[in-house]
Symmetry: C2
Subunit: 395 residues, 2 copies
């Protein structure tokens, strides 16, 4: 898309702020931030990263500060491949590209697949930043609702069959967060995963699988779409933001070699040797299973605290999802306008993200809101939910 | 450009390697690397950056490791604005966007300005990575030669007048490295700068001013195009790669606010809080004038050593540019094919970049080559030039 086309669209002035969702109201001091999708501060390995930098620069001197040269950049690539293989995604080195977080991964894939003629399917609701990225490329965005078992693949099939009958163009790609979805916290069932992959084969579309939360499972790990993909249709998108630290900006794409070559060609921020070498140095010193176990245990406990508090506090008019992992719980409130309600909530001392930001048609999300249990501590979660319940009971 | 259009082009398999120019021959062990555009290892502030990380994380704990939150990210932005103002580029905070190096800056600007219908003018020769970026968007690339005083603006004017007479489309944008150009090391004269800006106004095109080397002047600083731009036509592209460390990936764009808003909208790797906070912490502790003076003194000395060695060693059939700053000297060798000669040169123990890689039409650069005096030390420079002269004298 060029400037002329873009400028004709509405530019939200606040979009200057470098943050997904920064156009939402500022959260006042003293508020419990159940809006924040940040990792728990105690789980960000500050000391280990500090030590990693010292160790790295003592060992390698200026190497990680040049364009190329540090073996640690390759080591990060190797570590990610190994981890993919442990998770039953069997890929070769040529099938993985390190990116600056999942957002750049999504944008790069959109860039090579999409133009203004392209149809894409997204979940409804979906990750707001991904929606914004796709809207930079095309207005032809189709939506399929999500329920407790994830994307409703029967509805997807009806839509695809209907478009075929009516000689309407079919989508080229579908974007999904199948595991511990942002914003709903729900997970696509195994039956639906199979159904989705079968539909992709029948109707010949590609799949972007955003797995930013997949390692944060409270029970058994969930099988990824990519590990079930016999047809080479899945672009797997990974991220270390939710499991190490978002500020390091390390994500990746796993897909077929020819695609990786093309993605690389369009990735023009080059490598980030300093950040990537520091991450590699950190990873070589960490017991990953144990690290994940810590994360899983703490987030599960915080999630349970939130669910328990919701049960105790919320009026009967409110329902919510029960996630098996990730960061988020998704609330539905009868006859509410959660965007209008937000000011009252922050006055009462709690913040959330209004549901409308996760929908292509924002009015579809007026009765929903997203709560994060990731960043606040357990006392704050209880207090935040209590404050939110006060607002709800006054509706 | 979408995949279908792209895949129809030739993909060089070696493009997988994350390095501008990685498709060139591997430089053997023991070779003097006059090919390398890296900064001098002794000038990369390893110790200071190590201390900066420790200081930053001691002070701010996990803040710089989240998506947002560290005041240091804003501090970097403020530092860059201040530096721009000191260099007579008077901009407001809304007129600067931090990028992941100059390459991302060039790509972002191309992305909002260009599509496959867009005509662009580049210098001949020009920075190879920029050329590759533009080729991702359009095949309509026009070239204007560079001489000792930079871009030949008279030839540009003839071209623009001719296209106007012949009712051919005019270029929308011109890309230039006016100061200590890569690869030629030449600098656009003040008269030509004025002429170029006047032409931009008359023929209504925009200018991308890549100033990656501008701070590395051996004599008085050179006036930037941006500081002379009364008409808001210049996108200024800055970088800390050549003056601090490329591995940190810090660059920026300075231009009008409306453009910055649009550029931000398409910048989907988000901020890089860790790398940017570390850079800000480093910069707050450094005496920038003194730091630059060190760089200028050392690079000038190395440049003089190279020029002196060339005078002493080279046969009469070889001529070269005399840069007033930057990293590069550009050689012209009568009746040579510098690409074919490279294997012999590396066998003799010296590497360079063959001229052809800097040209749209590669055959235009067969008699040229680029030498860098930035990375090798003075003894290596003398020895490298001697080895190269041996090859030349055997032609």
């Amino acid at each position: 898309m060029n400037f002329t086309k873009y400028i004709s669209k509405h530019i939200e002035p606040a979009l200057k702020h470098d943050l997904p969702g920064a156009w939402m109201p500022v959260v006042p001091e003293g508020c419990v931030r159940l809006s924040s999708g940040f990792p728990d501060a105690s789980l960000v390995p500050v000391t280990e990263l500090k030590q990693s930098v010292t160790r790295l620069l003592n060992e390698e001197n200026d190497l990680p500060l040049h364009y190329v040269g540090s073996p640690k950049v390759d080591q990060l690539h190797t570590w990610l491949i190994k981890r993919m293989n442990e998770r039953n995604i069997h890929i070769k080195p040529e099938e993985l590209l390190v990116t600056s977080g999942a957002c750049q991964a999504i944008d790069l894939i959109a860039r090579i697949l999409m133009d203004e003629e392209t149809y894409i399917v997204v979940e409804s609701p979906t990750y707001m930043e991904a929606l914004e990225i796709f809207q930079n490329y095309t207005d032809r965005i189709l939506t399929v609702p999500v329920d407790q078992d994830g994307l409703r693949t029967e509805e997807l099939e009806e839509m695809l069959a209907g478009r075929t009958r009516n000689h309407q163009p079919l989508p080229k790609v579908l974007y999904t967060i199948p595991t511990f979805q942002n914003p709903t916290g729900t997970t696509l069932s195994i039956e639906r995963r199979k159904h989705l992959l079968a539909l992709a084969e029948t109707y010949e579309f590609l799949i972007m699988e955003d797995d930013a939360y997949g390692e944060l499972h409270f029970e058994a790990p969930v099988q990824t779409l990519k590990s079930m993909d016999e047809d080479g249709r899945v672009f797997y998108i990974g991220s270390l933001s939710k499991v190490v630290a978002p500020g390091m900006r390390v994500g990746w794409i796993a897909t077929d070699e020819a695609w990786i070559e093309t993605l690389f060609r369009f990735k023009k921020d080059l490598d980030h040797p300093f950040a990537q070498s520091v991450m590699a140095t950190y990873l070589e010193g960490v017991d990953w299973s144990k690290h994940l176990e810590n994360l899983q245990t703490l987030y599960q406990s915080k999630c349970n605290t939130m669910l328990e508090a919701l049960s105790v506090q919320m009026p009967k008019t409110v329902t919510w999802t029960r996630p098996d992992g990730g960061y988020f719980v998704w609330l539905t409130i009868q006859e509410a306008d959660t965007a209008a309600l937000l000011e009252k909530a922050t006055d009462t001392g709690v913040s959330y993200i209004p549901g409308k930001y996760f929908y292509l048609e924002q009015e579809d999300g007026l009765t929903n809101l997203r709560l994060s249990f990731s960043a606040a501590d357990e006392n704050e979660i209880v207090e935040g939910v209590r404050r939110l319940a006060v607002c709800m009971s006054q509706l």
